[in-house]
């Protein structure tokens, strides 16, 4: 993690409008392998839009997103889908687990989509649920879980494929402060243990303090970047 190495993921001069609203107006950000980067800023500053563009969920109107030599902003939808299955993990504010599936099946799903057998996928899902302390809730459906348990399930689902980048958009936004602290501790330690980089969007300075570095957005641009690179 040094300024001289090539970033794993780089957004340059991103422009993105939602209808008539300019969400991004020339935002740039670089994520290096293995680092935890916080993107902060007031609501409406464009931080979630930046995350969505960098994760290949949204296509920017202008600018570029490079992931290991691949242009995410122009590559095909098939290529993006494949990348999201193998290299990227995503955690949102509300876990967005599939309500009809058990926790184990929710976590196993990304592996099965990538071609792993159901038996193998469920076994690995079980290991990750155990690691996040919700192994005893493996057969519960999302509606039966507390917010903290569901978010741990979402972390397991994001990390089960061994991604190189985890995108976390306000991952503690729906949790009380103690559960939020626990989820952040678990997210960062799991990412560090597996070598994954984390792009963390938050409006909360206490959550941002889990990162190695911070980019602050204001009015759709990166205003300041600080911390050790």
């Amino acid at each position: 993690m040094s300024a001289t190495t090539e970033p794993l993921l780089a957004a340059r001069d991103l422009v993105k409008a939602h209808g008539r609203t300019d969400a991004l107006r020339g935002a740039s950000a670089e994520l290096h392998a293995g680092e935890v980067l916080a993107v902060t800023g007031p609501s409406g500053s464009g931080k979630s839009t930046l995350l969505h563009c960098m994760a290949g969920i949204l296509r920017p109107d202008g600018g570029s997103v490079h992931y290991e030599g691949l242009r995410l902003d122009t590559c095909t939808e098939d290529r993006l889908s494949a990348l999201r299955r193998t290299d990227f993990g995503v955690v949102f504010q509300f876990g967005q687990l599939i309500p009809e599936l058990t926790l184990t099946d929710n976590v196993a799903l990304p592996l099965m989509l990538a071609g792993t057998s159901r038996r193998e996928a469920r076994a690995r899902a079980g290991e990750w649920l155990g690691r996040f302390g919700v192994g005893d809730r493996a057969d519960a459906r999302p509606g039966e879980l507390s917010g903290g348990q569901a978010q741990r399930g979402a972390l397991a689902r994001a990390l089960v494929t061994g991604p190189r980048v985890v995108f976390a958009d306000e991952p503690t936004g729906a949790l009380d402060s103690l559960a939020g602290e626990q989820v952040m501790t678990e997210l960062v330690s799991a990412a560090r243990a597996s070598g994954a980089a984390v792009l963390l969007v938050t409006h909360d300075a206490r959550v941002a303090a889990y990162a190695d570095r911070e980019i602050r957005l204001a009015d759709g641009r990166a205003a300041v970047t600080e911390g050790a690179v």
Partner: protein, 177 residues
């Protein structure tokens, strides 16, 4: 912070000498400023003067001779009173950051740039404290001390954000007088 009550509190679990009290204080309050030996001995002498503690004897334990103190009954009563008394919620916290903002306005400086630098310094400290408390094996006393500091730094940050958003109004108000 009342060092005298904290030392008295440590003494209430059994007689002890100054060196040991300092060591136990620093262990018990890991994120607090370590006590200076001089302060420990001065405080112990005052506790004896006020009859809240007394000298029990000396203890050499193979090393230099040390005076051993114990809490008196008056000391125990005073301790119970202090520990149960609410701390006054400070009506106005001494606020160096606000003072600097006002002085920057008065002297034609750049308070917005100062607030950004101060924010960076606060965030850097918050990252350090977060590392301290998430280090595997950190005990709960360390976690809670770090959390206390983090909550206060976070409150400062929120205040700085609001102040930065209202600088033009503040500048008009300060310069009009």
């Amino acid at each position: 912070m009342s060092t005298r009550h904290i030392l008295l509190g440590l003494l209430s679990s059994g007689p002890s000498h100054g060196y040991d009290l300092k060591r136990r204080h620093d262990e018990r309050f890991p994120q607090a400023r370590p006590l200076a030996y001089g302060q420990v001995y001065t405080t112990l002498q005052r506790l004896v003067r006020d009859a809240l503690a007394e000298v029990e004897g000396t203890d050499s334990d193979g090393g230099p001779e040390r005076t051993v103190y114990r809490a008196t009954e008056d000391g125990e009563r005073e301790l119970a009173r202090w520990a149960g008394e609410t701390a006054p919620p400070a009506p106005f916290v001494a606020n160096e950051i606000f003072a600097k903002v006002v002085v920057a306005i008065l002297s034609g400086g750049d308070p917005a740039a100062y607030l950004l630098r101060q924010r960076d310094a606060h965030m850097a400290r918050m990252r350090e404290l977060t590392k301290v408390k998430t280090t595997p094996g950190a005990d709960l006393a360390t976690v809670l001390s770090a959390d206390y500091a983090l909550s206060h730094l976070d409150a400062d940050l929120r205040w700085m954000t609001t102040t930065a958003d209202r600088l033009s109004t503040l500048t008009a108000e300060v310069t009009a007088r």
